[in-house]
Symmetry: none
Subunit: 224 residues, 4 copies
DNA sequence: CATGAATGAGTGTTCATTCAT
DNA sequence: TATGAATGAACACTCATTCAT
């Protein structure tokens, strides 16, 4: 570390791809696909532009690698969490949601949805990959949990296929808020407290439980 | 050559900007800011590329105009709906949400969030405008309604500033789903049924109302 | 011409392509396809690099246009010359050859064979075009003339399909000499005198007509 | 791992240059100088790209080496053949030409003219080398033979300096045909038969020897 | 007002060359 | 010697912007 000062480069064929992907994630997250210059990515990664092409065929390839690499490890983790069978379903679900909110609100991972949203139109196969590997899998997990909870009598019976995206929506929102808008406004959202309210509303609903006797159904709002 | 032989290109010069903005919305929605070529916008608008510059200083200007123009009329409409004072708050809220879900799921308007998400990093003042004029105003409306509902005893008391984004999240989600992912997957979401489940969960919560006696609080899920 | 000094550009959509092709012929002839920079072509044509792309899809397109445009007018001319039916065949042939030698030795046209030779491997369809439209047509003309001459008893009977390239070879040689080697050597070849010798050898052969009696055939050299 | 386990890469270091030149000849002949990647040459030679630079200063050097190496051995051989003093000059000449036609039509050597033609403009000293060492020497040999033949009364008196390139032209043509155009067309030229016709025309001329009495000179065609 | 030919700065990509190992 | 990872200069191509008509 001390002595041999400026080796023009070190051989790190194995470390490089991950470093480049990390640098690229930063860059793409900051400016989007088109506005990101490979020169910048290279600079961030501490390499030259040409070196990028030793590891990725072109900009598009690099972009897809970024999305895949950033996503894949988290996919497995999330799936594991929700497949636990024993214990209260609500508790599992709450914990899973909490984990998700925390990760998307505090890591660079939250920038991925933004990237996919921005570029789905230009990279159809990326969109397809994302829908299938992330969205469908994620929603599927939620749907399964909801169905199980209902079967056990813990949850009310709601269509799991439609309730799943309702569950997921606040997670998407906080991810986007933290990665897209918060840098441009003084208003901040505290992820922990946001989660608490989210979980409260989700599980308990907005309506006050009326002590009084009957309650007419109003405008389609089914009240238990 | 003679009198009025070429009425074809005699467009009203005052209609032009709106036509251009409409054409540009299509183009930007389809490919994003950077990937949209002004040539394409001009072609869609039935004018020449040079003519764009008679109405907009540059591409960025046009982009901002698109976002503003597409948003502004809808802002007022939504606000009006929620400021009604009389009647059940839940009904008003439900109707407002229904209107929003419908509009973002069925019109080009739903592409706006996508555009803002994609380009906030590159157009800070656009992001600021959007946060202030759309997000904050929208969330503010929701918060007010929630506060009013709580004050009237209709709603449980939840932090309105945090519950507002929870309310808004499914609207964002359906907007993005329809405009970003649905074109790339066979899976579709029926906006009406989605809304029904959304409203149901939102108002009534997920948890089954237990007929039985006591119910312990589990893992922070407060049960009424 | 006098007054309005520097119009940044004039509209010349119709003149441009030919001007560009002419400039490109110069450039390609001088350095070959790969070594020619489009910047140079543009400079020679007095336009900017971008303008090239208004008229030609890419460098390859421009290259092919150069070859085609430079060739086509000459093809017709050459063909006309040789199709004359009356008069001595030898005279016609001699004149045609003379015309060809002159044109390839004194105009930029002589650079075309060089370009095709250099790039046939990289542009197979160009090669095909050249073989079919130039080589085969040219050789076909020669073959026809040889056959006619033989039929009339003017020429000895030789296989026209093989004699045709023999006829053509010195024309190719002088084209290449003038365009490839002569710039790099003090040795010059006078095209006129070269032609005279060429025609003399071609028509009369190398062997001395021996007055003496018998002459044995030596090593396959058939002697009349 | 033990004694002589890796003989695979133990190439004789003295064989290397020739192997590289051979590989490079293939590559350059196939794609030309600019389009040839040193990566390809290295791969063909079974070495790494870096190793090339142990034997050749740069790409240009390698290219020149290819041309020189491919040419040099053949130059001597050809010269020897033509310097024989005894016997019929025509027979010697015919045999020399036959040898040349055969070699350029059937070996990689025929690709050299193509390379020189393509790159003379970019490598003036290569062009100079080629003119002096190949063209001038070759033409010189021919000229000498022609002069000798004329002096002996075997050949008609023609300007040897100009007749020499006429002699050489069909050799060049067949070299280029085989290496440039034939890969792109179904039409093939049989080198042996081509040579026969070439020699026949060269020695005997095209014109029929008229039995009848006098023959007027027509259009400059001197008739014996 | 409208046009569209022309511009030229900007960037992705290639590849000869270098040099630590 | 030999390697191949790394470099960076070079260049084709795009497209927002300008402006003569």
């Amino acid at each position: 570390m001390a002595a041999r000062s400026k080796p023009r480069w070190r051989r790190r064929k194995d470390a490089r791809p991950a470093e480049i992907v990390a640098a690229a994630l930063e860059a793409f997250a900051a400016r989007g696909f088109a506005a990101t210059r490979l020169d910048d990515v290279a600079k961030r990664a501490g390499i030259s532009k040409g070196t990028l092409y030793l590891y990725f065929r072109n900009k598009e390839d690099l972009f897809k690698a970024v999305v895949r690499e950033a996503l894949l490890p988290n996919l497995a983790r999330a799936e594991a969490r929700l497949s636990a069978e024993k214990g209260e379903t609500a508790t599992h679900l709450r914990e899973a949601l909490h984990g998700l909110v925390t990760v998307v609100a505090t890591t660079r991972l939250g920038a991925i949805p933004k990237l996919v949203i921005a570029e789905a139109g230009n990279f159809p196969d990326l969109a397809k990959f994302y829908v299938e590997e992330v969205v469908n899998r994620g929603l599927g997990m939620f749907a399964k949990v909801l169905a199980r909870g209902a079967a056990r009598g813990e949850f009310r019976a709601v269509d799991p296929a439609l309730a799943a995206p309702v569950l997921a929506a606040p997670i998407l929102l906080i991810a986007l808020w933290k990665n897209v808008l918060e840098p441009h406004t003084p208003r901040t959202i505290d992820a922990q407290r946001f989660f608490d309210v989210y979980a409260d509303v989700l599980f308990n609903g907005l309506l006050a439980k009326m002590p009084g006797p009957r309650r007419t159904r109003v405008s389609g709002i089914r009240n238990a």
